[in-house]
């Protein structure tokens, strides 16, 4: 990133009529002048770019140099777990035996694939302490919806779907959305002074009309809900389910298990905790694990093994049905499996330990320079705010933009909403001490600059490929297509 190159024009702007990147050989059939003539030749695309092979190659290579990625540096987006994606995962998932499997191949020909899916299921059950699992959902929020649909189906089977879902104000934004899509009305639980759920509030709101509590643990402040077992008891005492958003499992894996905390349903993000590509590099994958009581409602197909033969079972009358075509993100599942097997049980535990250590190393180094609204101990992430810098008119946006000048990706901004001007930092375990120090030194320098030269921050970034973008204008009047 940040290599100073001439601003690359749009590919449409470097087009010149008649140029091509590929030349078809002269046809050796008499009378046939142009092999593309007829239906194959499109004439109705106005302004289609015409460039040479050199130009097209340089164009996309130059653009790629302006990108930022986990292969380049720290990506400290809180609650996103943007860890390094080991190359061995990609190698395994690109073996032709996997990439060339036809999705409609008969079970007898894909026993190896099914066996690996079952193995991943079993490993995830061991890590979570849950009793049954589906690999089907294609992302975290998809997993939430699948989990909520199962909760609804179970309540319906008991005669009453119920009306409400409780969600703390520190939850991931997708939680209320998933509950709402499932037909539930969301009731918010306010965080207490320690940034955790108040048991009194929960007990007051919990009744026979509440279908579930959706809880992220550790929550988006990075704080572990240490009352989790009492929380579960309160929810269960009124017949509700405890849903745990497993987005922050990187703090817990190998150390403690949601199943032992009486969680009923949870999703995992393979693209967070289990090192498969994230964001634009995805696709994501959000397996959902449940307890025995919810097992009949799992989406189909369910992988079953009998006498060493793996079978996809679609005959499950109480299932919520299909949630995705075919079998989920198979190749992503393989990458996660490769990761888990590479690390092994001790490695998984160490992963969580170092993730927590790295986050606390950053926290301790920046405490005092940046405000910490909640001082409870944190695990894999910590949430600072721009409170001290606001005295100089500098906001979290300015701090983030300035980080770009230091060649670093900024943390998550303005979330969770309970911290005004939030900077939510999650380094993950894959950062070395040296990379953590680079980030810390940049943040320290920025804190100094905020005091001494706030204008420098308010006009940042200065050395990037493009300067500060007008995000308000972009949101109000987006231009999504090139026009002449």
């Amino acid at each position: 990133m940040m290599i100073n190159v001439i601003r690359e024009p749009l590919i449409f702007e470097i087009s010149s009529p008649g140029k091509t990147a590929f030349k078809v050989p002269e046809p050796d059939v008499p009378g046939q002048k142009d092999v593309l003539a007829g239906v194959a030749l499109r004439e109705d695309i106005d302004g289609f770019p015409e460039v040479s092979e050199t130009e097209i190659s340089r164009h996309f290579t130059r653009l790629s140099q302006t990108n930022y990625c986990v292969d380049f540096g720290i990506y400290p987006l809180g609650s996103c777990t943007m860890k390094y994606n080991p190359k061995i995962n990609e190698k395994i998932a690109s073996l032709p035996g996997f990439t060339q499997t036809h999705p409609l191949a008969p079970e007898g020909l894909v026993q190896g694939n099914l066996e690996l899916m079952k193995l991943l299921e079993n490993l995830l059950l061991e890590i979570t302490g849950m009793e049954a699992i589906t690999l089907q959902p294609a992302a975290g929020a998809h997993g939430e919806l699948t989990g909520m649909m199962m909760i609804r189906a179970c309540h319906e089977a008991q005669g009453h779907p119920r009306k409400y879902v409780l969600i703390p104000d520190s939850a991931h934004g997708t939680n209320p959305s998933s509950a709402h899509i499932c037909g539930y009305t969301v009731k918010e639980i306010k965080s207490n002074d320690h940034g955790t759920i108040s048991l009194e509030d929960l007990a007051r709101l919990m009744d026979e009309e509440v279908a579930a509590l959706m809880l992220t643990n550790p929550n988006t402040l990075g704080v572990f809900e240490s009352d989790i077992c009492q929380i579960a008891d309160i929810v269960h005492s009124k017949g509700g389910f405890l849903y745990m958003d497993g987005a922050n499992m990187n703090a817990l894996a190998g150390i403690t298990r949601p199943g032992d905390m009486k969680v009923d349903v949870m999703h995992l993000n393979l693209h967070k905790t289990f090192s498969t590509p994230h964001g634009g590099g995805g696709p994501g994958s959000g397996p959902v694990a449940v307890t025995k009581i919810l097992e009949p409602f799992l989406p189909v197909p369910v992988i079953e093994e009998k006498d060493s033969f793996y079978h996809l079972n679609y005959q499950r009358p109480r299932s919520i049905g299909r949630v995705r075509s075919f079998y989920g993100q198979f190749l992503v599942a393989l990458k996660a499996l490769a990761y888990i097997l590479t690390l092994g049980p001790e490695g998984i535990k160490e992963m969580a330990e170092i993730a927590v250590l790295n986050s606390n190393y950053i926290r301790k180094n920046l405490e005092g320079l940046y405000d910490l609204k909640y001082d409870a101990p944190t695990l894999h992430e910590c949430v600072f705010s721009d409170k001290h810098q606001r005295e100089y008119g500098v906001t979290n946006l300015d701090i983030s933009k300035r980080l770009l000048d230091y060649g670093l990706h900024p943390p998550t901004m303005s979330f969770p909403l309970i911290v005004h001007g939030a900077l939510m930092i999650e380094p993950t375990e894959t950062e070395s001490r040296r990379d953590l120090d680079l980030f810390i030194e940049a943040m320290k320098a920025i804190a100094r600059e905020a005091k001494e030269n706030p204008e420098l921050l308010k006009t940042a970034p200065h050395v990037t490929y493009v300067r500060r973008l007008d995000e308000v204008q972009a949101a109000r009047n987006p231009i999504l297509r090139w026009e002449k």
Binding site: S414, L417, H420, E471, V472, A475, R476
Partner: protein, 128 residues
């Protein structure tokens, strides 16, 4: 800072009572917290709401936030100007940036809301 003639909620909505109706908007504090507003999802006229129910949604570059009705009532009019110029909420939150007009069901509910001086004190508590 905060007009004396308005009622304020803990969720940072304001109400201006005119007879049996009230105009609703969000406070200057709320618009500052949200940042530049880019879209407002308004309800239809005639929509009935209970106190603390979601009335509208405001989207800024930072987040999407619900606006709650501080009182029970029925929507009688919405600010159509916000469709084209949602930034009115930023530039004039207590005036031209009004969001909608409600027909009040029970005026005694207004007693649950704060007056300007109390709201300012409430904000001081939040800033700490």
């Amino acid at each position: 800072m905060y007009p004396e003639n308005l009622y304020y909620s803990q969720d940072h909505e304001w109400l201006k009572v005119e007879g049996e109706e009230a105009i609703l908007g969000i406070t200057d504090f709320a618009q500052k917290q949200l940042g530049d507003i880019i879209y407002v999802d308004l309800p239809d006229s005639g929509k009935a709401v209970e106190a603390h129910q979601t009335l509208a949604t405001v989207e800024s570059v930072k987040s999407v936030s619900d606006i709650y009705s501080p009182v029970t009532g029925e929507v009688v009019q919405v600010n159509q100007d916000l469709a084209q110029t949602p930034e009115l909420i930023n530039s004039d939150p207590h005036g031209q940036g009004w969001i909608l007009r409600l027909k009040l069901k029970d005026k005694s509910e207004l007693n649950n809301l704060m007056k300007a001086a109390d709201y300012e004190k409430y904000l001081e508590g939040l800033e700490k």
